[in-house]
Symmetry: C2
């Protein structure tokens, strides 16, 4: 007789991870709508604000996204006027992404988003800190090649 206990959703680690992730992204929506950004576009902009200039490859490494996802996201951000895309002069294979003035200005509007989000999360700070630490520890095990 097989042990099906492990097949229950409540015993999985992945399922609550998947649900919490989706739920938090969903709660960003009203705030990100004001910036005309989706969540994926938002984290892309966050990486750009922090690094000023990145290749598509570097963005993919930072965001854990491949070109199949990033290419359309970057084209959309370009269309919205927040970033510029141009081939690297050193290496024609590379796509260099930079922020436009409008992209930089958006950072001001975005500055209040983390705090607003914090108010949406009904959990003790200590628990959030532990979760933050464990998730980063977990991420560190995803040895990126």
């Amino acid at each position: 007789m097989a042990d099906y206990e492990q097949l229950k959703l409540s015993n999985q680690l992945c399922f609550p991870l998947y649900v919490c992730s989706k739920e938090v992204v969903r709660r960003y929506k009203p705030f990100l709508d004001e910036l005309d950004l989706t969540y994926t576009q938002y984290i892309t902009m966050m990486a750009m604000w922090e690094h000023r200039q990145l290749t598509a490859k570097e963005l993919g490494d930072i965001l854990y996204l491949d070109s199949g996802t990033l290419t359309p996201v970057l084209k959309t951000l370009e269309k919205k006027g927040f970033v510029a895309r141009q081939r690297s002069q050193d290496d024609e294979r590379s796509l260099v992404v930079t922020l436009t003035d409008e992209g930089w200005q958006l950072q001001d509007k975005a500055a209040s988003v983390p705090e607003k989000m914090g108010q949406c999360i009904d959990m003790e700070l200590e628990d959030l800190q532990i979760m933050h630490r464990l998730l980063h520890k977990f991420m560190d095990t995803f040895i990126k090649k």
Copy 2:
């Protein structure tokens, strides 16, 4: 001068949640390929194995998915022969989902997936347990209406 420190990816809770969720789902893939299931189809089957019979509404409540996602997933599972879909006799609005023999048989093949996944995760059991507990605590704050 605005404080942009909070806009760094490393200070976010959502970003590692989002990355870890995607990575774990990605690691399920080789095991789920053997069952001819995607991750979404897998958690749907897990709910069905646990509850034997559910309406689409109940499945959505359990899996935190809406009909826009579930309808095509259930149609695919029906096409693969794992579930049957039929209207409730009590309430024609409701869609009752049941498992086929093949759907039940799949549970045997799926029984080893959780253990195989456990071996893929390079983190101490204690950390995983804490994370599990905190994620469930977090989920409990998503007061479902």
